[in-house]
């Protein structure tokens, strides 16, 4: 499955001029507030008509302004989780959830409903109307409503912003299941690097209506430029690997990288599975000698490939650990003290539990 | 539905006839076993409805004009047209000024009004208003009171204006004045001061109802006369 997007759209003084392609899995739209993320999603959903543009989903042309093609929104079957909920105020939660199912040729089985209700923790709310829900409850129902409409593509505009961390931690794995098992492509808008790192296969960074950067998540998230949209503190590298082993006793997953391996705390995963690990630069400690007796399990040997200072008193050190690039952010003082230089061998120490779980 | 109603004789009558005519048709129905319905409305509306093909058999107008209008369009059976009733117009006053007024050439209506208004039917549209205006013109009073006239939508409304004390005096049919205790008849206009007040009756050209003629005859008969006279009409023979 691929989505080819190409659109020009003017909204007052704001001009959107974006072209990108997204494939299977999750494509994250990343960008500062007002950069045009929602506008892009609206064009995909068929809620906005570009002045000039083209939208092709899996060979199916949805928009082509040259040929005057515009497939209306209800024929696209794209589930859209809006930034502001948009629940139907006259329907109960249950009716809201079921709304999309009425219009689907292939209705989901009813235990699908039960499962999603359970996952989102909205069981006690089913008989209520949206006016009587809390902010987070509304958002959860909106997520459920979109999921249950059997979409071909899921458009999620900051879906988890209003959720508490515990609930987020429950919903994210489900999105992964959708992505991996249901093979549902997802376009995901989020300001959270950790969410994106965890879910996204591709990341598209939007800046002022234009694509500032696009590419595989592992590439884009390792760029310092990502900090236009994200917290500097969330810079890091996204590393891809394969599960080599699972230690059930210690609940430790061993992930094989290019020439090394790292260990991550987590629940059982199938051996051989491809996984991604987001290593935050600020979580990496460098040492010039191999450290002993540390609680950190992951100590990777490597050599410094680049050094980049900034004016905030920190230095970003790029380390190549057997083909796996690792970014470490350390203080200028340490940088001076350890006399680090390009080409120097170092050890990167990564706290196991600091890793994003899969 | 229309099917049964078409067997009934349908009368289109000026609204002011309601009291008397309801009683007359009731007697006729009882005596003959036939049925009738009467639609009371403004003569103007009835005439235009007849023009538009209303399923009426008999038309009784409150003035000659609307009957002439239909006659001009050949919508009535010419030989069936008869003058049915006559009426008089009277000067009424609200209860608190019941002194009789001598209505004669040049009588001082303006002074009587004393700044108040003269209530009457609209002088252009309501028949009683037209007759009233003609009478006042004949008596040479009109030009003094023309701008003091309050033209009401109907005689009944004019009557109400007087009985509520809005206007000190008014000109209405004697038929209407008789029934309202709030007003006093203080004078009757001479019969020669205005065109004769005549309610004509006629069978309509399109009427196919065989009983209609019988009803017209009954309405014009001596049997019916007392009902009209009781309301103050003059029965014309």
């Amino acid at each position: 499955m691929t989505l080819n997007f190409e659109a020009n759209l003017t909204l007052g003084k704001f001009a959107l001029d974006v072209t990108f392609t997204s494939g299977r899995g999750v494509t994250a739209l990343f960008g500062r507030s007002g950069s045009g993320k929602t506008s892009i999603i609206r064009v995909i959903a068929g809620l906005a008509r570009p002045e000039k543009g083209m939208l092709v989903f899996d060979g199916d042309t949805l928009v082509d302004t040259n040929r005057g093609i515009f497939v209306p929104k209800h024929m696209r079957r794209f589930g859209y989780i809006f930034q502001e909920g948009r629940l139907f105020p006259h329907l109960t939660v249950q009716q809201n959830l079921n709304y999309g199912r009425w219009f689907n040729r292939k209705p989901k089985e009813s235990d699908e409903l039960a499962k999603i209700v359970e996952l989102l923790g909205i069981g006690p709310l089913l008989e209520r109307r949206p006016g009587k829900l809390s902010g987070g409850e509304k958002q959860r129902v909106a997520i459920g409503r979109a999921l249950l409409s059997s979409p071909r593509l899921l458009l999620m505009d900051e879906p988890l912003a209003a959720l508490d961390e515990a609930r987020k931690a429950e919903v994210l794995p489900y999105l992964e299941v959708l992505r991996d098992e249901m093979k549902l492509p997802i376009i995901y808008v989020s300001h959270s690097v950790s969410e994106v790192a965890r879910l996204a296969d591709r990341v598209i960074v939007i800046d002022d209506g234009r694509v500032a950067m696009a590419g595989a998540a592992s590439e884009v998230l390792s760029q310092p430029l990502i900090s236009v949209a994200a917290d500097r503190r969330e810079a890091g590298t996204l590393v891809e690997g394969k599960v080599l082993n699972y230690d059930a006793k210690h609940k430790l997953v061993t992930v094989g990288l290019k020439k090394s391996s790292i260990q991550i705390a987590g629940t059982e995963v199938a051996i051989g599975k491809d996984v991604r690990v987001h290593i935050l630069a600020r979580d990496v400690i460098l040492s010039t000698v191999r450290p002993e007796q540390l609680s950190a399990l992951n100590i990777l040997a490597g050599s410094i490939t680049a050094v980049r200072g900034d004016d905030a008193g920190t230095v970003d050190i790029h380390v190549d650990c057997g083909g796996t690039p690792i970014l470490a952010r350390i203080t200028e003082l340490s940088y001076e003290r350890l006399a680090l230089q390009q080409g120097m061998p170092v050890f990167a120490i990564i706290k196991t539990v600091a890793l994003e779980s899969l | 539905g229309r099917a049964q109603a078409s067997e009934k004789v349908t009368v289109f009558a000026a609204a002011s006839l309601k009291n008397a005519l309801d009683k007359v048709t009731a007697v006729w129905e009882k005596e003959t076993g036939h049925e009738s319905v009467t639609s009371y409305a403004a003569s103007s509306a009835l005439a235009k409805q007849i023009e538009a093909g209303a399923p009426a058999d008999i038309f009784i107008s409150a003035d000659m004009d609307w009957m002439d209008y239909l006659a001009g369009k050949n919508l009535i059976k010419p030989d069936s047209r008869k003058n049915l009733l006559g009426n008089r117009i009277v000067l009424i006053a609200s209860r608190d000024r019941s002194d009789p007024v001598k209505i004669e050439k040049g009588f001082d209506l303006v002074t009587l009004l004393g700044g108040g208004r003269l209530a009457m039917g609209s002088v252009d549209s309501v028949p009683a208003g037209k007759y009233g205006k003609a009478a006042l013109e004949f008596l040479g009073v009109w030009r003094f009171v023309a701008d003091r006239v309050a033209g009401a939508e109907s005689v009944r409304a004019a009557l109400l204006l007087v009985s509520r004390g809005e206007a000190p005096y008014g000109i209405v049919y004697q038929t209407d004045a008789a029934a309202d205790k709030g007003v006093t008849v203080v004078g009757t206009f001479p019969e020669d001061s205005h065109p004769a007040i005549i309610y004509p009756i006629a069978l309509l050209d399109e009427s196919k109802n065989a009983d209609a003629a019988s009803l017209v005859d009954f309405i014009r008969s001596d049997r019916a006369a007392p009902f009209f006279e009781m309301q103050g009409f003059t029965v014309l023979r």
């Binding site: 209800h74 794209f78 809006f82 689907n104 006016g131 | 609204a15 009291n19 538009a52 399923p55 029934a179």
Partner: protein, 233 residues
């Protein structure tokens, strides 16, 4: 005869008024919703014209409206002839004609209420329904319609109440034939035209007011019920 008991003719007028007002209200509803939609959402040439046309019965003296109906829908009028020839529908001097007159007189009131409600609907909700697979027709039926229910109810009650009070256009169009086209309102009017008719007119007025108040209360209750469901907070 007790003061309040109604004569047969009066009962007939009550029945007839109820029937005419209900039919006028219900029959004009679909068209009312359609026109309100067009006026609220449509962008077409002649929209102002349509809007003006809808308001005409309000602007014109009812008698004029009645005459126009007579000219158009009468036995000899162009539409009247057409309806009679093609569909065998005769409106003139039938209760159906009275319903037409009442429907026309109440139409601007109904359309305005519904239109106001439509204009207040959050288009975002309709968009959301669209992305969930609902076609425009379904969006209308499942989202727009329920949300504009308060306006529809208001429009219906205005139309009904107007039909109860209307006589100018009715009496001009279909006359005042007892048992066929004589509504409470025209009966009241007739009584007011003759000496001594005031008491009877007053009695019928009370009846008319009672009926309309009952309808009004019912509508308020419905609106309350509908509103409670959609209540925000």
């Amino acid at each position: 005869m007790s003061w309040f008991s109604l004569t047969n003719d009066e009962w007939t007028a009550v029945h007839l008024s109820l029937r005419i007002a209900s039919v006028a209200m219900l029959a004009s509803l679909p068209l009312g919703i359609l026109v309100a939609l067009l006026l609220a959402r449509g962008r077409f040439w002649g929209k102002s014209l349509l809007n003006g046309l809808v308001h005409l019965p309000l602007i014109l003296p009812p008698v004029v409206t009645g005459f126009m109906l007579l000219l158009l829908f009468g036995r000899r009028g162009p539409i009247g002839t057409l309806l009679a020839d093609q569909f065998g529908i005769i409106l003139s001097f039938r209760w159906t004609g009275a319903a037409l007159a009442c429907g026309v007189m109440g139409f601007p009131l109904m359309v305005r209420s519904i239109r106001l409600s439509i204009e207040a609907v959050d288009r975002g909700l309709e968009d959301a329904a669209g992305t969930l697979g609902a076609s425009p027709m379904w969006v209308f039926a499942t989202v727009t319609l329920p949300l504009i229910l308060p306006g529809i109810i208001a429009g219906m009650i205005l139309s009904f109440a107007k039909a109860m009070g209307e006589f100018g256009a009715t009496i001009t169009f279909v006359s005042n034939i007892p048992g066929e086209t004589q509504t409470l309102s025209s009966a009241i009017y007739s009584f007011l035209q003759v000496p001594g008719g005031d008491a009877a007119a007053f009695r019928l007025t009370i009846v008319s007011v009672i009926i309309s108040m009952a309808a009004l209360l019912a509508s308020e209750f419905m609106a309350y019920y509908v509103g409670r469901r959609v209540d925000v907070e």
